[in-house]
C-alpha cells in the first residue's frame, strides 16, 4: 500500500490545489516545441521577507582560565524571496498558481565561524 501523505501540514496545503482549473493551453511563442507553455522558470518579484530566528550566541574566545567567552551580538534570520512561474517561451505569468516563496539563505548578522 502506498504511503499517501508524509506530513500533516503537507496534506493541508496539497488540498488547496485539487481539481480542475481553466487555463489557456496554447503558447504563442514559436520557440515552444510542442506548442504548450512551459512554466518551469521562476520570475523573481522584488519583494521578499525575513523570518527572525533569534539571537545567535557563539564562543568568541577563551579567557585566561580556559573558560569560553561568549558574544551574543549576532541575529539569525532566514531570507525568503517571492516569485511567480512564467512560461520560458512567451514569458506569460502563470496565474493558476499564485506567487510562491523561495528560501534564499540563512543570514548571521555578524561574521563569525
Amino acid at each position: 500500500m502506498m504511503k499517501r501523505i508524509g506530513a500533516l501540514g503537507f496534506a493541508v496545503v496539497l488540498l488547496i490545489y485539487s481539481g480542475f482549473v481553466s487555463w489557456a493551453a496554447v503558447c504563442g511563442s514559436s520557440n515552444s516545441p510542442d506548442g504548450a507553455h512551459d512554466f518551469s522558470v521562476c520570475k523573481r518579484a522584488d519583494a521578499g521577507y525575513s523570518v527572525d530566528k533569534g539571537t545567535c550566541v557563539y564562543i568568541y574566545g577563551w579567557d585566561q582560565n580556559g573558560n569560553p567567552i561568549y558574544k551574543n551580538d549576532c541575529r539569525i534570520s532566514d531570507r525568503y524571496q517571492w516569485c511567480n512561474y512564467i512560461c520560458k517561451y512567451c514569458n506569460q505569468v502563470n496565474d493558476t498558481q499564485g506567487a510562491h516563496p523561495h528560501y534564499v539563505k540563512t543570514v548571521h548578522s555578524v561574521n563569525h565561524n
Binding site: M2, K3, R4, I5, G6, A7, G9, L14, L15, I16, Y17, S18, F20, V21, S22, W23, A25, V26, N31, P33, D34, G35, A36, S40, V41, C42, K43, R44, G54, T55, V57, Y58, I59, Y60, G61, W62, D63, Q64, N65, G66, N67, P68, I69, Y70, K71, N72, D73, D78, K88, N94, Q97, P101, H102, Y103, V104, T106, S109, N111, H112, N113
Partner: protein, 783 residues
C-alpha cells in the same frame, strides 16, 4: 594531449576561482584546495593547444596578465584588491573576528580557538595597498594572557586600537569580574599605549564592541555583551567616547538600535544608527557626530521613507560624508556620491563592472590624497580589501555581449563577474533587455551578441546561427567530471553547438503497483481498463497535449508515423483508439492539478519533473516512498527523459578572439565554483558536474522548499531523505533518454487538426484523412 587541455579547465579554474585576486606571489596559491594539477603542466598543455587548428580556439585559454590590474570603466579604479581572510585551521569552530582599516592597509583580527586555551592564538591578518600580505601571531599575547578581544581603526594612521580583557577574581563582588583596557599597537604590532576602562562594569554586559579612534585621539566605541555565560537576551547598547587621556566623556543609550562607527572626510568619527520598529523593520538611518567640547550630538544626515531604500531600509546600508555636502554611499550596485537628500550625483565604482560580488560594506576610509580604502564582504561573507583611486586614463577594453533572459541573469552573473575580474582587458556584458524578434534579426545578419542563451531564440531550429564548439570538449576524460548524458543535450546532429550547464529529468508516476513497464499499446490498454478516471494526466487537459506528451518522443520514436518509410498510422484502429481515449478524457479544456486528484483515483497518472534534488522529497511525500515511477510509454517499453536548461551558444560570425573569450568563459561556468555559485538561483537545475550534483543532494535540509509548477509549496522540515534522493536521481539519470519532440512544423499541423476535431468542426474520418495527407506530404518533403 587533448586530455590535458580539458583537465586544465576543469581543475585549475575551480582552484583559483572566486578567491579574489591580486599579484600572484601574494599567495593565492595557499588557499587552493582540492585535486588540482600543478601549474607547470598546464602552461605546457595550453601551448600545445594551438596546434589543433582554428576550432581549438574554444579549447584555448585567454592569456592572463602578468600582474592584476583593474579596468577603467568607472571614475575610480582599484589599485589593489585582495582577499582578507584568516588562516584556515582544521576543525575550528567559533572564534570571533573583526576588521579594521589603516591608512595604507586592511587588517583582520581572528581569534583561533584551537582545542584548548593553550592552543588558542590571535591572528592579525594584514594586506596593504602595495599588495603585501602578512599573517602575524600576536606576540604581545603571552600564553593565555594579554589577548586581543577587539580591534578598531585609528583614522589616518596605520596604528590600531585593540581591546584587552582580564578576569580578576575577588571576594568582593564589586571588585571582581572582567577588567577592560584599550591598547594601541603600531605598524610592528608593538603596544605603544594602554588606556584602562575601569568605569565599565565587570559582568560583560557593557563590553566595547565596535571601536574607532578619531584623528584627535578620542576613542569612540559601541558596547554589547561579551562574557562567560551564554546569555541570549539583549545587552545594553551604548555609544561611548573616551578622551585621549582615558576619561569617559560621554555615553548615550542606543539599546536595540543597529550602530556602526564611520570615519568622516575630516578625520572625525561619526555614529551611524538604524532604529527598527517592533517587527524588526528598519525605519530610518542617521549619521550623528558628537562634539567632544560640548558633549552634544550633532545630526549630519538622516534618511527615511522619502529617501532611496538603500540608505535606510536595507540591512547593509553604509554611508559617510565625502565633504560637508556630499554623501559617499554603498549599495548593492556600487559606490556612489549623493547629495544630502540621498539623490545620486555620480557613480564612483560599480561592483558589476569589476567582477565584485558585493554583499556588505564593513568600513570605508577616505584618504587625505583623495583615494578610498574599504573592506567589503562578498557573497560568501569573506572580507576583501579594496584600494580605489581616481581613474587617470581610460584604457581600451574589448566588450563581449551575452544575451540572457532576465530570469537567468543570476545563474550566470557570478561566473561573468569572475571572468571580468580575471581578464580586465575584456568585459562580458550581461544584457537582459533583448526583444526576441530583434535579436534573431540581428543574429541572422551576423551581428548582435557573441554569447546567447537560447531560451531567447530556440536552439536546434537556428543551428546555422551558431558556431560548432569543437575543441571545447575534445578528448575523453571530461566524462569523469561532467555528466555525458547532460552535455550531449548541447549537440545538434552529433556536433556540439551549445553548452548545457544544468538539466532536469521527466517521468510518469501512477497510483498503482502494476504495471511496471509499458509500451504505447499497453499504456492505452491500461487507461482503457481504468473505469474510475476523469482525466489522463496533470497539466493541460487537451487531446493534443495527451498525444504530444505520451505518444510522441521525436520522429524516431512515436505512435503516429514511421519516419524511415514516410508513412503514417493515422488510418488505423490503434490511432482511432488513442483518439477516442483522448476525446473521452481530455474533452474539456482545462488544467488538471498534480497530486490529490490522482491519489483520489480521478486522474490516471502524473507527469513529474526533477529539476532540484529536494523535489524528489516533495514527490516522496506526495506519492509515497514506494510509488510506481513507471515512466513514459515508448516504442520499446517505459522511458524516463532528460532535458537541458537551454544551451548557451556562440554566434557563428564570432571572431577568433571572441571565440577564445567564449571558451574561457564556458570553462569558468562549468568549473566547480562557477557551478556552485549558480546553484544559489532557483532557475539553475541539476548541475552537469558530478561533484556539484552530489553537493546539491547534500544541501537538501530542513530549510529546503521544494517547488515546482503544479505543486503546493512546503518546507521539508525533518522530512527529507538524502539517500532516497540520491538513489532516485542516479537511478533515473542512468536510464534517462534525451527528451525529443516532433519538428515544430509537424506539431503545428497536428495541433491545428486536433483542435478542429476537438472543437467539433471536423469528423474523425476527415481528421484522419487530413492528417494523413498533410503529414505524409511533410515527410516526403523532408526526405
Amino acid at each position: 594531449m587533448k586530455r590535458t587541455i580539458f583537465l586544465l579547465f576543469l581543475f585549475i579554474f575551480p582552484a583559483a576561482l572566486f578567491q579574489g585576486c591580486g599579484n600572484k606571489d601574494a599567495g593565492n596559491q595557499e588557499n587552493i584546495v582540492g585535486d588540482q594539477i600543478s601549474y607547470g603542466e598546464n602552461v605546457e598543455s595550453s601551448e600545445e593547444g594551438t596546434a589543433f587548428g582554428e576550432h581549438m580556439l574554444f579549447g584555448e585559454l585567454l592569456p592572463e596578465e602578468e600582474s592584476w590590474r583593474d579596468n577603467t570603466l568607472d571614475d575610480y579604479t582599484a589599485v589593489m584588491h585582495l582577499p582578507l581572510i584568516p588562516r584556515q585551521e582544521e576543525g575550528e569552530q567559533g572564534g570571533g573576528m573583526q576588521y579594521a582599516l589603516g591608512s595604507t592597509c586592511g587588517v583582520l583580527l581572528k581569534k583561533h580557538l584551537g582545542a584548548s586555551v593553550k592552543e588558542a592564538w590571535d591572528e592579525l591578518k594584514m594586506v596593504t595597498g602595495q599588495g603585501e600580505e602578512d599573517s602575524v601571531r600576536l606576540a604581545f599575547r603571552q600564553d593565555d594572557h594579554n589577548q586581543a578581544w577587539g580591534i578598531g581603526s585609528m583614522v589616518g594612521s596605520d596604528h590600531f586600537m585593540m581591546l584587552g580583557r582580564e578576569y580578576v577574581a575577588s571576594e568582593n563582588e564589586k571588585e571582581g569580574g572582567a577588567k577592560y583596557y584599550f591598547f594601541e599597537i603600531d605598524e610592528a604590532q608593538q603596544v605603544v599605549r594602554t588606556t584602562p576602562l575601569d568605569f565599565l562594569p565587570g559582568d560583560g554586559r557593557e563590553t566595547p564592541d565596535r571601536i574607532m579612534t578619531d584623528q584627535s585621539g578620542n576613542i569612540h566605541f559601541t558596547t554589547g555583551y561579551l562574557g562567560g555565560a551564554p546569555v541570549s537576551d539583549q545587552a545594553e547598547n551604548y555609544y561611548e567616547l573616551v578622551s585621549p587621556e582615558g576619561a569617559l566623556v560621554a555615553k548615550f543609550d542606543y539599546t536595540g538600535v543597529t550602530m556602526r562607527l564611520v570615519s568622516l572626510y575630516d578625520g572625525r568619527v561619526a555614529l551611524w544608527s538604524q532604529p527598527a520598529d517592533a517587527e524588526g523593520r528598519n525605519i530610518c538611518s542617521r549619521l550623528e557626530c558628537m562634539d567632544p567640547a560640548t558633549g552634544e550630538m550633532e545630526l549630519l544626515a538622516e534618511f527615511g521613507e522619502n529617501a532611496p531604500k538603500a540608505l535606510w531600509e536595507a540591512d547593509n546600508c553604509y554611508y559617510t560624508l565625502w565633504d560637508e555636502n556630499t554623501l559617499l554611499y554603498a549599495d548593492n550596485a556600487g559606490l556612489h556620491f549623493a547629495d544630502l537628500s540621498g539623490n545620486i550625483t555620480e557613480d564612483v565604482y560599480i561592483w558589476g563592472n569589476h567582477g565584485i560580488l558585493f554583499s556588505e560594506m564593513v568600513e570605508i576610509q577616505i584618504r587625505e590624497d583623495g583615494g578610498i580604502n574599504l573592506i567589503y564582504l562578498d557573497y560568501s561573507k569573506s572580507g576583501n580589501f579594496l584600494c580605489l583611486e581616481p581613474t587617470q586614463e581610460k584604457k581600451e577594453i574589448q566588450r563581449i555581449v551575452f544575451a540572457v533572459p532576465p530570469a537567468m541573469r543570476n545563474v550566470y552573473y557570478p561566473s561573468v563577474a569572475e571572468f571580468n575580474k580575471r581578464y580586465p582587458a575584456y568585459h562580458i556584458e550581461l544584457k537582459t533587455d533583448y526583444d526576441k524578434t530583434a535579436l534573431l534579426t540581428e543574429l541572422t545578419a551576423g551581428r548582435g551578441p557573441v554569447l546567447v542563451d537560447t531560451m531567447l531564440t530556440g536552439f536546434e531550429s537556428h543551428k546555422r546561427l551558431w558556431m560548432p564548439l569543437e575543441g571545447l570538449f575534445a578528448g575523453e576524460s571530461w566524462e569523469d567530471i561532467l555528466i555525458p548524458r547532460a552535455m550531449e543535450l548541447g549537440e545538434i546532429d552529433g556536433t556540439l553547438y551549445g553548452v548545457v550547464s544544468c538539466f532536469g529529468l521527466k517521468t510518469v508516476v501512477i497510483p498503482k503497483e502494476e504495471p511496471t513497464d509499458w509500451d504505447y499499446k499497453t499504456f492505452l490498454d491500461t487507461i482503457e481498463a481504468d473505469s474510475s478516471i476523469e482525466a489522463i494526466c496533470n497539466g493541460d487537459n487537451s487531446v493534443w497535449f495527451f498525444m504530444a506528451s505520451f505518444l510522441i518522443h521525436g520522429l524516431e520514436d512515436n505512435y503516429l508515423l514511421d519516419n524511415g518509410s514516410g508513412t503514417t498510422y493515422f488510418d488505423s484502429t490503434e490511432f482511432r483508439r488513442a483518439l477516442r481515449l483522448g476525446r473521452t478524457y481530455c474533452a474539456e479544456t482545462g488544467y488538471v492539478e498534480a497530486g490529490t486528484p490522482m491519489l483520489e483515483g480521478k486522474v490516471f497518472c502524473n507527469i513529474i519533473n526533477v529539476t532540484r534534488p529536494e523535489l524528489i522529497d516533495l514527490y516522496r511525500l506526495c506519492y509515497g516512498e514506494n510509488a510506481n515511477y513507471i515512466g513514459f510509454p515508448s516504442g520499446d517499453g517505459s522511458a524516463h527523459y532528460i532535458y537541458g536548461q537551454d544551451p548557451l551558444v556562440v554566434r557563428s560570425t564570432a571572431t577568433e578572439e571572441e571565440k577564445r573569450v567564449a571558451g574561457t568563459f564556458f570553462r569558468m561556468l562549468l568549473s566547480k565554483d562557477g557551478q556552485m555559485e549558480s546553484t544559489k538561483d532557483s532557475n539553475f537545475w541539476l548541475s552537469v558536474r558530478k561533484d556539484v550534483l552530489e553537493e546539491q543532494i547534500n544541501q537538501v535540509n530542513e530549510n529546503s522548499m521544494p517547488g515546482t509548477y503544479g505543486f503546493a509549496f512546503i518546507t521539508l522540515g525533518d522530512d527529507y531523505d538524502r539517500e532516497y534522493d540520491a538513489r532516485f536521481l542516479y537511478d533515473m539519470l542512468e536510464k534517462a533518454r534525451p527528451l525529443k519532440y516532433f519538428p515544430r512544423e509537424l506539431n503545428v499541423i497536428l495541433m491545428e487538426e486536433l483542435e478542429a476535431y476537438a472543437a467539433g468542426t471536423i469528423t474523425e474520418d476527415l481528421l484522419i484523412q487530413r492528417l494523413t495527407g498533410r503529414v505524409e506530404l511533410y515527410l516526403a518533403e523532408q526526405n
